[in-house]
């Protein structure tokens, strides 16, 4: 083919780009490693706060609050902890800024605000005469105890934003000092005596350093050290109030490290790089770069595991209890299964599919915090201290990893069918084998996983099988894959059918995994419920159905000729 010389030059070029980005990555990574300890002037980040049922660093608290109000963890490039602190110092300035994220068009229409905008001033929203009407409307809905539809969920968020902002601004929500009696920490607004005086010192030091930044000057070493020193003094005073209740410093530091280093991000960057290397190796049909790919993916994998371990340590439980955590877990599983199958078959594209899914999953997890809440939250009573829960969730979701892999491989298969069935006959055969194996692995985990779910339900509620929607959809997915494997066994489903079913049957998994919580929103698994992203997920599913239809029609026509 005449394509070859051209593609070779492209490959050489892309290899250089790859090497360069690798260098960049190493630089970035090592600079991050150096920043594992807090920079000067950032002691405020590590100040323990009590919020949402646990003690956490001020940094985490600030990120969560800014996320809720603004939808992001930074505001105009400034760190959340600085922003949140200034809400308390100058709330009236902040109500004039476009800080409040409102995405629901109906809510905006009812407030007579521009629906195409996304961020609004506090004054526009809460000073609006309609705001109180909407709150009343929400309250009536709540009284009726009916399920909240997206409009009311959006209203609820708006009310929450209002509440949180005013509570932070008035100092009532930032709880910094453990009480002598009881468990609820004292908020900034309730501080008295030495503690109040020392907090004033912290504030002064903060103002002087933030003042320098706003004038465009760098914060001087003295200013930064002064701030750290005052924060430290405050911390000692707070601890002295009730040393037993005060936060464990190691845990706080670990959480700061988790926030700042964010191992999951590095993991997906490595996965992307790894995917490019494999793509390069695959197109050029060379096996040498594969070892580089293994190294990159291996590093990513280690960081992925490291992130898991950090989360487990911080929460004292395996991280598989909400949507975000399962996405991270499934991404991890896909890579593991891909690596195992790759070791057996050495097809290259299996690992490619695995690394693409892993990267895709991790990017989704990282970029949709409203839908997939990454914050560390305490568990509902029913989920606490339960061995079977962990085992059943991990087993079921790891089967999703295998099905996800079959799905990605199915996509690749479809592309080959488009590129020419006869020409790529061998590659298609290989892909089909990999899809078959991935589906089998999935079934081997899903069936026992569902049974383990039954054991958990039996253990916790005395009901082995109660038709809970989450379990039921897992069963439906299992039945779907079982039907396909049986169909394959008797030869109804041929190669093309395996590729197509790899893609289509995954819709059942999406329904079980995401749809039950976000579309159905019913049942015992309601602790994992959320809202949002439905349009993207259904778009994703719909596009794949279209692709399948297109390839099927295309194939019919070409075969008919």
């Amino acid at each position: 083919m005449e394509m070859k010389p051209k593609s070779k030059s492209i490959n050489r070029w892309s290899f250089k780009v790859l090497l360069a980005s690798l260098m960049l990555f190493i630089c970035g990574f090592s600079s991050q490693i150096n920043a594992l300890t807090l920079k000067r002037g950032e002691a405020l980040r590590a100040l323990p706060v009590q919020s949402d049922g646990r003690t956490k660093p001020f940094d985490s608290f600030a990120r969560e609050m800014l996320e809720l109000i603004y939808g992001k963890q930074k505001y105009e490039g400034r760190e959340a902890y600085e922003i949140i602190f200034t809400w308390m110092l100058a709330p009236q300035v902040w109500t004039q800024k476009e800080l409040f994220e409102v995405r629901n068009h109906e809510v905006l229409k009812n407030l007579n605000l521009e629906p195409s905008k996304r961020y609004f001033k506090g004054d526009e929203l809460f000073g609006n005469s309609k705001f109180n009407d909407l709150r009343t409307e929400l309250n009536i809905k709540r009284e009726s105890k009916e399920k909240l539809n997206p409009y009311f969920q959006a209203l609820q968020r708006l009310e929450n934003q209002f509440f949180i902002f005013s509570e932070i601004a008035s100092g009532k929500m930032i709880r910094l000092v453990p009480p002598k009696e009881g468990t609820q920490w004292m908020a900034v607004a309730d501080l008295q005596g030495d503690l109040q005086a020392q907090f004033m010192e912290v504030t002064k030091a903060f103002i002087s350093s933030i003042g320098a930044i706003s004038e465009g000057k760098a914060v001087s070493v003295e200013q930064a050290e002064k701030l750290d020193e005052q924060v430290l003094k405050f911390k000692e005073l707070a601890k002295a109030n009730n040393p037993e209740l005060y936060a464990d410093q190691t845990r706080i530091d670990t959480e700061i490290h988790y926030n700042l280093f964010h191992p999951f991000r590095w993991a997906y960057i490595l996965y992307i790089l790894g995917a490019f290397v494999i793509l390069f190796a695959w197109i050029t049909d060379k096996s040498k770069p594969m070892s580089l790919a293994w190294v990159l993916l291996g590093l990513g994998f280690l960081l992925h595991v490291y992130g898991f371990l950090l989360r487990s340590y911080l929460m004292g439980r395996p991280p598989v209890s909400n949507m975000y955590e399962t996405v991270v877990w499934v991404s991890w599983g896909s890579l593991v299964f891909a690596a195992i199958l790759e070791k057996v078959y050495k097809f290259k594209f299996i690992l490619l599919a695995g690394s693409i899914i892993a990267a895709f999953g991790m990017i989704i997890a990282d970029s949709a915090p409203i839908v997939l809440d990454p914050s560390l939250q305490p568990l509902e009573p029913v989920l606490r201290s339960n061995y079977w829960l962990t085992v059943h969730v991990m087993t079921i979701t790891i089967s999703y990893s295998a099905f996800f892999l079959a799905f990605a491989l199915g996509d690749m298969g479809l592309i080959y069918y488009l590129k020419g069935e006869k020409k790529h006959h061998e590659k298609i055969k290989a892909i089909v084998t990999a899809i078959y194996r991935a589906k089998q692995i999935g079934v081997v985990f899903l069936a026992p996983g569902i049974i383990l779910g039954g054991i958990w339900a039996d253990y916790s509620w005395g009901r082995f099988w109660g038709w809970d929607p989450k379990e039921t959809w897992a069963l439906i997915a299992l039945l779907g894959y079982l039907a396909i494997l049986h169909g394959r066994l008797v030869g109804w489903i041929k190669d093309f059918g395996m590729v197509v079913s790899g893609v289509l049957t995954f819709s059942l998994v999406i329904m079980a995994w995401y749809g039950v919580n976000f579309v159905l929103g019913a049942g015992l698994h309601s602790y994992g419920f959320g809202a949002g992203g439905v349009e993207y997920v259904s778009g994703f599913v719909f596009l794949h159905i279209l692709l399948v239809v297109y390839v099927t029609v295309y194939r019919r026509q070409t075969l008919g000729k």
Binding site: E380, G462, F464, L479, H486, G487, V516
Partner: protein, 459 residues
């Protein structure tokens, strides 16, 4: 003559075609079930889909298919082991589930803090009719299991009780009704009194009706720190903060107020509609907003399309041309010239055979929040001593398992009762056995493939 070809029939029943059809049907039906649950609730999904005749038929066909496919492979060889395990496992699992649904117990037990109970509420519903000639002693004359959720009575096809004597027509059923009580004055001397009280101190404000079933019974409302009774005045107090009200023939109400310090009344006196009295606790004042010497309770019913935690099932009952509504676990009375009928529509109750006493109920909260971290009930079981039941830590006794299910909040926002789920599962061991065999089968399937045992294409 048409003759059944057994071999051909077996071949079809054992075919993968059949299996795929059955698997797909189960998948579709259960998927519908999840949507029904999302739209309505778990009960609706269960009654309309999962326990429906369609589901049962598919399950029977599935069982036949699983059995036939194994019979078809007879005589079995070593390579069949994983296949046999996987399929027999599913059969055993289904048998276990069948046993559970037929002879298992799955009910709820509600025990008030400090109180005790032995009656478990089951999901089945019964219609029970009692009659009485003196208003005190009732005899059960009808007890009938009904499933109005699935087979509701209608105006055209009502359910008639005692057509010759009482002719009570049940003519309408709402699955989801929002009910509010309507209390009216009546001149029927067999009815008890009704008062609408208000208890307020400027901050707290509590308004409630108290209605006696008949002139001889007591009715009360419990506000936690204070109890208000309507009925005959007692001889002496119980050492609690209580107010007793008694309706008089002259249209007035006699009252007696007790407090913790003494068994003798602290105050006594008379009240009438619109008048109030100071209670002496926390500045609370009790006012009589409304007083009917004979009060008739009626439900005002609004039909809803979807359930909420506030809705309930409701039945419309007609007696002597007059209609009234009755909710689930509620009763209604009908008067003839010389008798009283008492109709209840209620969940079946099962006697545990022992009392469960709730000594204490503890909710642990996450630090500094109202979020529950764990709940625990300290119970005293007759003949079994004191135990703690908490989420995920059930108690087993006499073949029953008692689980902590949830709790009930009182009007003041603090828990007043613990709710347990009571289970007896005779199919449990079969389900575990079936699961084990099936899982083994699936794993062996892989293992055999890898070892090259049982490589067989098609059937």
């Amino acid at each position: 003559m048409f003759k059944i070809d057994y071999k051909k029939t077996l071949k079809f029943l054992a075919s993968i075609k059949m299996a795929v059809i059955v698997i797909a049907s189960i998948a579709i039906l259960t998927a519908i079930g999840t949507f029904v649950e999302a739209k309505y609730d778990a009960t609706a999904a269960k009654k309309l889909v999962y326990d429906s005749i369609y589901m049962n038929i598919i399950m029977v066909v599935f069982a036949i298919n699983l059995t036939a496919v194994m019979v078809d492979r007879w005589p079995w060889k070593i390579r069949h082991i994983p296949f046999i395990c996987a399929h027999i496992g599913i059969l055993i699992l289904m048998l276990g589930q069948f046993l559970t649904s037929k002879i298992g117990v799955d009910g709820t037990l509600r025990v008030e803090i400090g109180g005790q109970s032995r009656l478990v509420q089951l999901p089945q519903t019964d219609l029970i009719l009692y009659s009485s000639f003196d208003g005190n002693n009732y005899t059960k004359i009808i007890e009938r299991e009904v499933d109005f959720f699935r087979n509701p009575p209608t105006v055209e096809k009502p359910m008639v009780l005692l057509p010759d004597q009482a002719d009570i027509k049940i003519k309408n059923h709402y699955r989801y009704a929002l009910a509010s009580k309507e209390i009216q004055a009546s001149d029927n001397k067999k009815l008890g009194a009704g008062v609408r009280i208000q208890i307020t101190n400027g901050q707290a404000n509590f308004i409630e009706w108290i209605v006696q079933r008949n002139p001889y019974t007591k009715a009360n409302v419990d506000l936690g720190p204070l109890k208000v009774h309507l009925g005959l005045l007692p001889e002496s107090g119980k050492g609690l903060n209580e107010i007793y009200l008694q309706a008089m023939d002259n249209g007035k109400i006699k009252y007696m107020l007790f407090d913790k310090s003494s068994l003798d009344p602290k105050f006594t006196g008379e009240l009438e509609e619109g008048k109030s009295m100071a209670t002496g606790w926390m500045g609370l004042e009790l006012r009589i907003l409304r007083f009917f010497p004979q009060a008739q309770e009626n439900w005002k019913i609004e039909k809803r399309d979807f359930p909420t935690p506030l809705t309930s099932e409701a039945l419309e009952v007609e007696y002597k041309g007059k209609s009234q509504w009755i909710l689930l676990n509620d009763t209604v009375k009908f008067f003839t010239d010389n008798a009283v009928y008492f109709l209840t529509y209620a969940n079946r109750r099962m006697d545990l055979g022992f009392n469960v006493q709730l000594k204490n109920f503890i909710v642990d909260k996450y630090q500094g929040t109202m979020r529950a971290m764990a709940y625990k009930s300290q119970v005293q079981i007759e003949g079994y001593g004191e135990h703690e039941i908490s989420m995920n830590e059930p108690l087993k006794y006499q073949g029953l398992t008692i689980y902590q299910a949830s709790f009930q909040d009182g009007p003041m926002g603090n828990p007043v009762a613990s709710i347990f789920s009571i289970n007896k599962d005779p199919g449990r061991w079969l389900k575990y056995l079936g699961s084990l065999i099936m899982t083994l089968g699936i794993i062996l399937l892989f293992y055999f493939k890898k070892m090259g045992i049982g490589q067989k294409k098609g059937s």
